[in-house]
Symmetry: C2
Subunit: 347 residues, 2 copies
DNA sequence: CTGTTAGCGCGTTCAC
DNA sequence: GTGAACGCGCTAACAG
């Protein structure tokens, strides 16, 4: 067989063998209705004989000026993202829209700052969906610099990128009101404040220094709620966990309680953190909610199982909205698409 | 600014503005060390001034003959795959390797048979990892037809594609020995037998008619174990669930028990199914394992929580191995990379 | 309905 | 270390 030695079969070869022009062969694949049945058959027969699998995707992309793929950048943790139910729900939403629109979903590895930037500018995609990152993240800037449409979920805001997500500050204030109701010593269990991800307990951290926009907004909202209560933010202890992990949250909650014995309300940034906090309280012999009220965030499985008051939002819908926005320019406002779900962990 | 009106900046324009040849500009991006520092600076300055974000990915792919992306085909359920912990663990493994090798991971939507085939041949990727499918799945054939390397996880075997996965028959036989030990009326709770996914209870289904290779192998292994016990496969009731869902498993297990009152051992194909079965047994007033022994598969969270005897295998490692195989041709044999974990649900 | 012309943007030649 | 030509494989635009 001659095709086993030739490196690659081209459309032109197929056309020649079929006895038609290259364009007829091309149309056979891209617009079959423009080609007579006779020619089409000849072309397909020639293709089969030669082992031609269809137009080369890269060549087609170059010529058409579009890649047929949506790029997804998962912030800092490529592989861990698959362990995070929130992230996977978001991806499922993106995937759904890609499927509808016949686009591939191209997930870009994020590992090392400089390599990441290079890969983002070198990816053959028509636009980017970026999963929450830090202020000034080089990967976001790289996506914007490509000149293709970019949507960031959660933030940060940046010129050239649209942000999709709920109003975290408003939601935090609302759930803060629930958890801090009648509290005297409110406290917070938070995601990391900066990319350094150091775990620490600090009193009233300066929001300006918090580089993760989602975390910043939520802290601001909890601060609003504390202020509503007459408590100075500077007096509110915030335990920053380095990851979204129940065990670490437990340790951190223990430290919080040790530092402020009379803590009577604990707002956390995820149901996972809240579940760890509940364990710490239990170990310290404290009852929730009678002695300490606790809230989570996300309305995850665990919040239902443990009866944790939480903020519900649909990551899947937000993922779908991000994809739609990049692919078709459709705009959806999610700012008030959240809801407080009260359960047994608060009064 | 002239660059706001021009549609796209090319390397040639950058070169012209920098006062160097196109090739010097090209090398500045692909092999910076081959260009003098002076030229490099001029090129980068010109690029910045013009808003040039680097070489066009499609053009580069065309010229280089490689796409820089690994294609992943998720079988029948694109969006549901993100809900399945086994699938996400597998994807995490694939992602890990893609990150290492600087490749993008391009997930292809699978929705509609004919469109899927078209998209697979049209995707700009260097090879495919296909997640378990049915015998003769058109998507697998489409991947193979592209002429690029293809690895299928789980199966089916096909010429031109390598299969990665454990020896499901051997593992099923091994766990079958544990669950069926001393049993008189063994039964099975299975994944769907064919793409039609109909839920039904059948006695000793003909393995030949089972079109999902993983399911078929496991049924064969359970059959081996029954035979080891002196029980005829034709007498073994198999409840096929249409999805991997605990609630459906509960219903199906109830039906099984109704059909064969004295069932005393139930081998299932996932921990999820096993957990549903346990609920059904509890509702029927049957004790596990004293009255009915039960096993799952996967060593998932729920199997630890409920004490279900199960088969452990690392989906993450298998995902990584699939990616390595496609990207670098490395072969790893997983056939005996499984382990029985005995817990309270069996004697 | 089909063929011709002319590139898409880049990188591999091979010279200098 | 740099420059000039050519073509990767395909398709938009226009004839015919």
């Amino acid at each position: 067989m001659s095709n086993s030695t030739s490196r690659r079969v081209t459309l032109a070869q197929v056309a020649e063998r079929a006895g038609v022009s290259t364009m007829t062969a091309s149309y056979t694949y891209s617009r079959p209705e423009r080609v007579s049945a006779a020619s089409r058959e000849k072309v397909l027969a020639a293709a089969k004989a030669l082992g031609y699998a269809g137009p080369d995707p890269s060549a087609r992309s170059l010529r058409r000026g579009q890649a047929g793929a949506l790029g997804v950048v998962l912030g800092e943790h490529l592989t861990y993202a698959f362990d995070d139910p929130q992230a996977t729900a978001f991806l499922a939403g993106v995937a759904e829209v890609c499927a509808e629109q016949g686009q591939a979903m191209s997930i870009l590895p994020v590992v090392d700052a400089t390599a990441d930037v290079a890969r983002i500018s070198a990816a053959a995609v028509d636009g980017y969906v970026v999963w929450t990152t830090e202020d000034g993240a080089p990967v976001l800037q790289a996506a914007i610099t490509t000149g293709r449409p970019v949507v960031v979920h959660g933030g940060p805001a940046a010129e050239g990128a649209r942000v999709v997500g709920i109003d975290n500050r408003a939601a935090a204030r609302a759930i803060g009101r629930v958890v801090f109701a009648d509290a005297r010593v409110p406290a917070v269990l938070s995601f990391p404040l900066t990319g350094a991800r150091e775990a620490a307990v600090v009193a009233g951290p300066e929001p300006h220094d918090v580089t993760f926009p989602v975390t910043r907004e939520r802290l601001l909202g909890f601060g609003d709620a504390a202020r509503d209560l007459g408590v100075d933010w500077a007096d509110v202890l915030v335990g920053a966990c380095s990851t979204n992990d129940a065990r670490e949250a437990q340790t951190m909650a223990e430290e919080l309680v040790a530092r402020a014995r009379r803590v009577d309300a604990l707002a956390t940034m995820s149901d996972e953190l809240a579940s760890g906090a509940l364990r710490a309280l239990g170990a310290a012999g404290l009852q929730a909610p009678s002695q300490v009220a606790v809230t989570g965030w996300d309305d995850a499985e665990v919040s239902r199982a443990l009866g944790i008051t939480t903020v519900a939002q649909s990551m899947r819908e937000q993922g779908a909205a991000c994809a739609h926005q990049v692919l078709s320019g459709t705009t959806v406002d999610f700012s008030d698409q959240w809801q407080i779900i009260e359960r047994a962990s608060t009064h």
